[in-house]
Amino acid sequence: MTPEQWEKVKDVLAATLDLAPTERAGYLDRRCNGDDQLRGEVVRLLEREHAAGSNFLRQTALAQAATAVLPEQDNPWIGRRVGAYQIVEQIGVGGMGEVYRAFRADDQFHKEVALKVVRAGQDSQFVVARFRNERQVLASLDHPNIARLLDGGTTQEGVPYLVMELVEGQPLGEYCDERQLSISERLNLFLQVCGAVQYAHQRLIIHRDIKPSNILLTPDGTPKLLDFGIAKVLDSDLQWEASQTLTAFRPLTPEYASPEQINGEAVTTASDVYSLGVVLYDLLAGRGPYPAARYSKELANVICRLDPDKPSTIVSRVRITNGATPVDVAQIARARNSTPQKLRKQLSGDLDNIVLMALRKEPSRRYASAEGFGEDIRRHLQNLPVIARTDTVRYRAAKFAFRHKTGMAAATVIAVLLIVSMVGISWEAHLARVQRLRAERRFQDVRELANSLIFDVHDSLQGVPGTTNARRLIVDKAVHYLDSLEQEARDDSALQRELAEAYKRIGDVQGNDFSTNLGETENALNSYKKSLSIRQAVWTKSGSVEDALAMAESLRLVSQNQLFAGDLSAGLENSRKAVELMEPMEEHHPKDAKVLLELMGDYQSAANILGGENSLSNLGDNAAALLFRHKQVEAAERLLSLKPDDDSMQGNFAIALCTLGDQLWQDGQIKAPLEQYLKAQSIFQVLAVHSRKTARARYLLDQVYERLVTVYLAKAELPAARKAARSGLQISMQLSAADPRDVQAGTTLADDDTLLADIESRMGKNHQATSRINKALVLVRRMAELSPQDMETKGSQAGTYTTAGDISCRVGDFPLALKFYQTATAILSKIFSDNSSNAGAREHLAATYNSVGNAQLRLHNPTAALIAFHKALALSEPITASAHSTVQALYTTADAYAGLGEVEADLASNPRQAKASQWKHWKEALSWYRRSLQFSSRIKEPGFVSPDGFDCIRRESVTRRLTEIETITKR
């Protein structure tokens, strides 16, 4: 062949490859136009397509060469016959020995298997016994996601071998990257792996060597977990020696090993959870949790001591350095069918927390089981606002921490199956086929094609610049297509259901896939609305529970998206509709847990919109919100009675109680929330010991303790507050790592110490309080040095300084107190100026200005005091006038006015001034105090300490002052 001929052949070949197999013959005829030689060449090459498959040249040369190293001629197993099997070649190295490809010698179908034998030269009795154990282990495992054991035996020399299902597939990470699977698709695959691990755990088997190369995906997309080779059976009577004696059993890839494995300590199901966590981390963030270390000793140190960054933080950098490998974040995002900004949003919040929890150094702080891990992920995927959500409502009783304002709910991550077709298909040809079928009214085929039409994306569109537009075009076409189909589907309920589902998926794609500019959100909303209207029609006809649940889902999606778009009232309306839909459903199906779960979620959703934590997306209607919260609790209770032994139902109930408590607290009450928190506390306490999710329960218990401290402080019940603070401190001390460089743990510890110091100081234990606050100050300064950009650390710093100021006040050292307060305001105003929408910073800054004012007052600096109080007012009063007025803001404003009153009263009582001037000051004082009462009267149940932990002036004392002054001025 000449180069010119090759050019022609190449041209025709490339074009033919783009066509569907059935169209190729026709095309070739046309294109070659009688040139048989050309046609022949092309056809010959086309025939190679199948044989080359996707594997030929897929793995690059170096990787191949590296794995091809084991010298086959030295291996006595190659070509040998073992039992009924004939060994062909080596395909890898397992935990204890080699793995070979073999086939059944007497099998006419030539079925291939994987045959594992003990590593040559290590036939010690110990190893053999262990190998026999693996056979025992595997024999008991029968799960679709675990490589199946087929046979086993011993050779003549007494070497045991296992025959297993030969798994042909790609490692998990590669599989996902190649197909550019989105985060939710990856999570769904991961869930299957969790299921397999959980299955093994239930049979008391720990895998101990979970890593991506042990998770292969078969061509049809099924994950298979391999190599339980060094799995340990928990109740085995064989005694394993500590793993440091035999390097053969050390995991080949320490990157995935848990700290306890590295230290040779006890390995539990939580160790598998850890390894799963590393796998998940990689799947999400495109890199392992720790920077690559060159020597294994360095790596061991890193794994045991260094806390990983959040996955969302990783992808917010422009480039990721993983030791020697700078990788472009855009690439990582593309491999996840996303953009760097979207990816960061997808990962931050729930997913960050879930992954990091699995990666905790202490086994007891992780998910206790793979199931718990999986369930949390499942909840995240279903966007059911049950367990994960409450995390975002973090109460910090001390002055420092900002209320974690829950931002807009993370983009709805719902599993969307976008099947990327590997074989090129032409869009037009496909469409033409579909239309022909429709004309023939073959709806069944249409339905199948409709699905593939929407979700098969032409391979050549992936990765090419301008892809987004092309894909958007496909989605638009799909929507047009669905619209036309809708007309014809009126009478076919089954088709309608599929249509509704398809619209919903399109909505998911539109909401997730493309940028979050308003135009696309609009489109997503429209798709969801279409889905909703169809589902409504279907349900009206059938009245079935499934259809009701589907409609409720659509209502929820529409409601959420309306929220994103800022249309609160519409969002609320749909949320209410969901409630109205599901309530009668429950009446008719009182034992249906799914219905109850959905109903509970809808109540929570409605309550959030009406009066949730997020001041940006709630209508500020506490009373209405409370109604729904009560219903939420009742629904949770009913759910619990359906499944009284189910820990998650217990947990749900406790969480519902907490959310109710939070709402009551927001309403300005004190006694009622306390009741709820105490109930929740007792449930979590039980769960913390007896459930399978003790770590989770303890974490939630810690959350309750924080709330309890706030409440007790408000009631001035100091011993109770101290007890709760101590309990909370105990739990979070378990967090505090041996590594003094762990900023998160250090900050939490400092926060808890600050809180406790505050309480001790209020109780008059000055000595203890002072030494504790000094400890906290040192710690918090060090954390700020380590993490100078982190806002939460700064917030903690400010809080600790403020408390230090309060403690100084209480012992009478006002100059020192003032210094502390001023340092705090400096920090807070910097944060506030960098980020003026941070409501938490604003409120705390205002309250701290009040503290400054009070200190200045005591130091007899009236001018400075006035300035401080006015600064406080400038920040807090506008909040009280807005729709999102908070109780804290009311306190702060009331106190600022009272403070101004105090200043004027002070100035008035100076005897060395003219009567007229005195009179003026008294008058001012009166007016300020009256203003103060105006605000404090809006607080339902005034406490001694404000919600964010600031001392407040009691209403009664203000009233008293007022009366005093009125008496004076009447004279």
Partner: protein, 189 residues
Amino acid sequence: MSSPYPVTELLARWNHGDLSARDALVPLVYDELRRIARRCLAGHRVDHTLQPTALVHEAYLRLTRSDSAHWQDRVHFFALAAQMMRQILVDHARKQSAAKRGGNAFTVLVNEALAVSNEKSLDLVALDNAMKQLAELDPRQSQIVELRFFGGLSIEETAAIVNISPATIKREWATARLWLHQAMSDGVM
């Protein structure tokens, strides 16, 4: 501040068209790559997800001591590395095959059913010969294979070096694969 590392400077000069700089680079880079290859081939890293790009990056970093170099310099480096990597690996394969008893039988897997995730049986010597044949028909296409398969470059990176669009790269790659597969099964050596 002038760079104390000759490699960075040479790369920059090569990028500006100085071919003598490229010649000067070859021995420097070759040594480094050989070390890496030796380490991998010695089996100290039996890792299914081995990334050659990672290793070449590592080599790049060690030679230039910088990780924020001019993107184009890096890409040039990789092109060079791909060439040299090919040489190194094929040499190694040749030595190995000479040592094996009975010569190295052609083992490209023809039956798709047998293909496994780590396809270790690819005969690099045969591939190298087939690539030489392809180069006689279409030198650019052979270079593309070299960059992608030996250098581990992505579609975009390859497109940047060869200076054609990614879509064309895909086409070239797809057709080259088929041609090479056929050449190797026919025993065209």
